[in-house]
């Protein structure tokens, strides 16, 4: 993730103050997040459901 993208995303997420006071920490956080989803195999079945499933009326 390049510097400009990190700044845009950080500001959109409400991290303007963190970007000013702790720019290195914001960069580390963005780097941690950048490629992690690439390590997850995309389900081949487009109908694959997420967990947890909706369970209407079972709790609360």
């Amino acid at each position: 993730m390049d510097k400009e993208t990190i700044e845009v995303l950080a500001k959109r997420a409400g991290l303007a103050k963190a970007l000013t006071d702790f720019p290195e920490d914001v960069r580390v956080a963005a780097t941690q997040a950048a490629d992690v989803a690439q390590k997850i195999r995309r389900p081949a079945d487009p109908k694959a459901e997420p967990w947890p499933p909706m369970k209407a009326g079972t709790t609360l």
Partner: protein, 464 residues
């Protein structure tokens, strides 16, 4: 009577019930030991000695008149400081919540008190159960009683350190990516992450709603089962609470394991994240010992640790961001550096990432469930290394992800970590046993068989 600080929960409870041990003497002995050792261990954020002694006196009066509250009557317990104890602040080891006074006990604490336990105080954690070990927080990080230069594991660091050091015989921890089982592994005790939803999370500060578990930490397997019996049970006000009924977790403890089918997940520590040779040797020794005890051990393949870890991280950091986003926006300087970095990561993950991880999660659950159609319990690594030096930042960073605990936060299966032996350097190495949903009894059965063979319950750190 054995030294009071090494008494098990079960032995202490039996002695108190038989009027052979005073809860006041036991509590006083542990508070004295805390006074002596905790300045080196930092297991506590706050010792609540006065309230503990008052509770001990009440427990003694009740015991003398034959009125026992429950199976933990008069036995002290430590509570991780992300769990509410009425009248004490729940700081989460963070400046952000330094004055966050709890008005009521968390359900798990309420249940422990109902069973007769005495709360000694609040225990160190990583900041918000994720940012640590850190030296830039209002309290120092806990240290490992086997060698105080080393990390006790986390995030339930004070729970692991204090149980291992004999400051208390049982503690509550929480586990979102391995935070009960990591300190259990580093400190050579028994730590269980129960089935998701078995123990109420109400009154526990969340890290990640769909991955958080509350679990017991003790020095023996039998004590762990005893503690789980006290805290398990449906809570209609916890949206993640399971409707399953409470089990009899100690029922099969000494039944032996002849005929049980054990699946050894070797690829976790041989291929996915190659373990330290001493850990590999210890795991092989555990597997052989279980075979000698009559279990049938066979290899089992699951999805890779790398993919389990990625699914766990995307879900954990996305959910954690939803909690911490506003505070990180307004007061980022009130977090420690590690907490800030790890909690801000969720701001850079997309809804698509979260849904991808959640969809893959269901498939991974199905793959683990398929394995449990072939075997009764899984055996695998917990930590791939003995605990590293706590002040060696690079080594902490390198070893922290080298573990096989996150798969079972992703799937929600019960998983127990315990000592597999001691390294040449005198630090614990560990093993993990995993069971079917709500089948903690079989996990305890196998763990107890290993404990009996190896005598891990008799091994204590050299700290005095």
């Amino acid at each position: 009577m054995s030294e009071l600080h090494w008494m098990t929960v079960g032995a202490a409870a039996r002695a108190i019930a038989a009027k052979e041990l005073s809860p006041v003497d036991l509590t006083k002995a542990l508070l004295d030991r805390i006074d002596t050792l905790d300045p080196r261990l930092n297991a506590f954020i706050r010792v609540d000695g006065e309230a503990a002694m008052a509770a001990a006196l009440a427990a003694e009066t009740e015991a003398q008149s034959g009125r026992l509250r429950g199976p933990l009557h008069g036995v002290p317990v430590g509570i991780k400081d992300i769990i509410d104890v009425a009248g004490l602040p729940t700081t989460c080891h963070s400046k952000v919540l330094q004055d966050n006074m709890a008005s009521a006990d968390a359900v798990c604490v309420e249940k422990l008190r109902g069973a007769g336990a005495i709360v000694l105080g609040k225990l160190s954690t990583h900041e918000f159960a994720i940012g640590g070990p850190s030296f830039d927080l209002p309290w120092p990080p806990a240290r490992n009683p086997w060698n105080t230069d080393h990390h006790p594991g986390g995030s339930s660091s004070g729970s692991g350190s204090g149980v291992a050091a004999g400051l208390f015989p049982m503690a509550l921890g929480t586990d979102t990516g391995g935070s009960v089982r990591n300190p259990a592994s580093c400190c050579g005790i028994v730590g269980l992450k129960p089935t998701y939803g078995l123990v109420s999370r109400r009154g526990v500060f969340p890290l990640s709603f769909t991955l958080d578990h509350v679990g017991p930490m003790t020095r023996t397997v039998a004590d762990n089962a005893l503690m789980l019996e006290a805290i398990a049970g449906h809570d209609p006000l916890d949206p993640g609470s399971a409707a399953a009924s409470q089990g009899h977790y100690a029922a099969a403890l000494d039944r032996g394991i002849r005929g049980l089918r054990v699946g050894f997940v070797r690829h976790f520590h041989e291929i996915d994240t190659p373990a330290h040779p001493e850990v590999t040797a210890a795991l092989e020794h555990v597997a052989r010992s279980l075979q000698v005890e009559g279990a049938e051990v066979r290899d089992i393949k699951l999805p890779s640790l790398g993919e389990f870890g990625a699914v766990n991280r995307v879900i954990l950091q996305s959910e954690a961001w939803s909690i911490h986003g506003p505070w990180l926006g307004e007061r980022p300087g009130d977090y420690g550096k590690l907490g800030r970095q790890r909690l801000m990561a969720g701001a850079f993950m997309s809804a698509g990432d979260y849904m991808l991880a959640s969809r893959r999660r269901l498939q991974m659950i199905a793959e683990v469930e398929a394995a449990f159609r072939e075997v009764d319990v899984l055996l695998c690594a917990s930590s791939m290394d003995p605990a590293c030096r706590i002040e060696d930042t690079a080594e902490v960073e390198r070893t922290y992800p080298r573990q096989a605990r996150t798969p079972f936060n992703v799937t929600g299966h019960p998983a127990l970590a315990m000592m597999a032996g001691l390294s040449v350097g005198g630090l614990p190495v560990s093993v993990q046993f995993v069971g079917r949903y709500f089948d903690e009894a079989t996990v305890f059965q196998v763990a107890r068989a290993w404990e009996r063979v190896a005598g891990t319950d008799k091994k204590h750190p050299p700290i005095v």
